[in-house]
Symmetry: C2
Subunit: 406 residues, 2 copies
């Protein structure tokens, strides 16, 4: 019989009533298929409270002891869910990261999973128990507790499912699936039955914050199917899987948008090799994430202008960093623009079907929306526009690419 | 260099300011003596909150998963204290029960310590680290988390100190030592410099709730010195040690009192062997703790009356239990009395010096206080009196036995 891993996030286990609801969902699945592993997050708010406690003592957040404190939230949920299952006469036992063990490196607070032993879990499955595993936590080969960083519970669930060669990893959350666009902004958005890993990765990093990017990348690597579905409603959800398993590949399967970025333009960079390298290296050293990059000739033929986006909350630091290399590079000035939105159309079908970019530009032009920066990948076209037009742009593109709910 | 174990209870680590205060106390001790092990409780209120969460899910409180949940509170404090020490540039690391390991049996929620490995802790000491250990928790030889029951942190500290052959176990709490009587009731009570294990055991079980009985018994077994002192004041505290190390043994070293018991009298028990046995066995099966027992002849020569005390909150269950064996025993009736107080005079010197009981009875008679039940041990005389007289009795005895602060 094949194994199914069920993962429940913080809002799904927010309080005792939610935990009992989760127990009922797990119990129902157990009656259909005895081979169940459950992964849980901390009750919502708990991890933030624990982090806040550590911050009151010290600003350092990548110490081993930070992980000792913040990993405790998941332990509580795992124990409570096992108690809830046991009280329904369903055999269940919790297994902490160190009991399995989930071996990680020693990058405390952002550890990477190195290896998951399956013996303990297989024995538990063979006893027809439901193993409940706190997500987010691991242990080093020197027996120290680690955590995987924010959103690490999705990664735990996918890694455990992959190690056990599970049939599927079901991620229960507070939305009922992946939509063609964020329904709060695009009311006609519709739920997708299926989406490929690549598309999901673009959707996730473009602002559709349902699944952690890291867990999708891991699932893609191991060809593990993920299902995203609601803890609170009995609906079908969305399957995330390999593109080969999606029969009809649409040109465009979703629209993503974000207000999280700001635009920077560095003007009058002397036109000689290596100047962009100095610039981006200085930002890289400060761990500032540069996203869309576009270069254009300046009026002055011997110099160029360079535009790119950085996270809005790192704009000031980015400007200061660039100014610190102004002498070295010899550029003229910097202009910044916080009033921008990024809109992306995403679709695995783009790889083989042309004309998507052209159509996108046409539609935005029809609405008199000016494009500030353009960047493209194999399955995505992103444009930067004035923030005020984001909603109009998203809805127009959603309709034009025939994504609207009929 | 000899090892000192420092233990801090829930009120000593109640919030971040308290934890920083504890870090300062530990740091000061570390500068005098590098060989320090610290044991901590959960932040006050935390364990009760965790227990409450489990109760909302299930009434069962002796399951393995109950221990998974409630042991997490100490983990948080241990991590936070290590962070606080590290932020003062003092090397420190936390060690959970399973990391040491503190091996216990599998009596979940009330586990007994079987063995403590010292290798990991000795290595930590040799690195001049301060090991911070969450009290209350252990692990079975099958790698399951256990807890030692309420107040188990004192027991953890004493057991770890004994295993490490420590010089002393310092128990920091919210009082500054052991007094000749509870100072809230007897204002003239004075702090004792020293007290023997046996006396402390009687004081603890008689209502002076500073140290857990179980931890005192363990310290006595291993001849480990305990010092009770305040987390909040810099005062000397009280040493608990073997009676041989107390030069001047007083007749009476303390007065203990309690309102927690109720009196039961079973009237007209047929005067034949085995009747008391049936009675107390029935109570034992219900785990009802019987304390003071006194038997007297009844008016009827062929029957006796039996008086004894039980915890007030178990009185009703005790009465029902006794009624269930009424036919078998053939007694006439039961009388109960909740309106009673137990007063005890305690002193290791009593073993060799006579007249303490006589003096106690004289003083109570002087004040017209009637004795309902009397029971004695080698180092203690207890009497049951009407509750209203408790304060008067305690203060009079305290003065008469020359315990008053001069």
């Amino acid at each position: 019989m094949s194994i199914i891993v069920m993962k429940f996030g913080g809002t799904s286990v927010a309080d005792i009533d939610c935990i009992k609801n989760v127990a009922n969902k797990v119990a129902a699945q157990y009656k259909k298929n005895k081979k169940i592993i459950v992964v849980v997050s901390a009750m919502s708010g708990t991890t933030n409270n624990l982090i806040d406690l550590t911050r009151q003592v010290s600003k350092v957040s990548n110490s081993p002891e930070y992980d000792v404190v913040v990993s405790s939230g998941e332990q509580v949920t795992a124990g409570l869910l096992s108690i809830a299952l046991n009280s329904q006469e369903i055999p269940s036992r919790s297994f902490m990261g160190w009991q399995i063990p989930v071996l990680t490196d020693n990058t405390f607070s952002k550890a990477n999973i190195a290896e998951i032993s399956i013996d303990v879990l297989m024995q538990s499955l063979n006893r027809n128990e439901i193993a409940v595993i706190p997500g987010f936590q691991g242990v080093t080969d020197e027996n120290q507790i680690t955590t995987l960083g924010r959103g690490g519970s999705d990664t735990s669930a996918v890694a455990i499912a992959s190690a056990l060669n599970a049939k599927r990893c079901d991620i229960y959350t507070d939305v009922d699936g992946i939509y063609t666009a964020d329904p709060r902004m695009v009311p006609k958005a519709k739920k997708l039955d299926k989406i490929s890993y690549e598309e999901m990765l673009e959707m996730a990093s473009q602002g559709a914050k349902v699944l952690q990017t890291r867990s999708v990348a891991l699932a893609m690597k191991y060809k593990l199917k993920i299902k995203v579905l609601s803890s609170f409603e009995n609906k079908e959800g969305t399957l995330v899987l390999h593109e080969d398993e999606i029969m009809e590949k649409k040109n465009v399967s979703g629209i993503a948008f974000s207000l999280d970025e700001a635009k920077l333009t560095v003007i009058g960079i002397p036109d000689k090799p290596g100047q962009a390298s100095i610039l981006f290296k200085s930002l890289g050293l400060k761990a500032i994430n540069v996203d869309m990059i576009a270069q254009s000739s300046s009026a002055n033929k011997s110099a160029t202008d360079l535009s790119f986006t950085v996270p809005k909350n790192e704009l000031e630091e980015a400007i200061n960093t660039i100014k610190s290399v102004q002498k070295k590079i010899g550029f003229k000035s910097i202009i910044s623009d916080r009033d921008v939105a990024k809109i992306s159309v995403i679709g695995i079908g783009m790889k083989t079907q042309a004309g998507v970019a052209q159509k996108m530009f046409d539609i935005l032009a029809e609405k008199n929306i000016n494009l500030k920066v353009i960047s493209t990948s194999e399955i995505k076209i992103s444009v930067l526009i004035e923030a005020a037009y984001m909603e109009l742009a998203a809805r127009s593109l959603h309709t034009a690419f025939e994504l609207d709910e009929s």
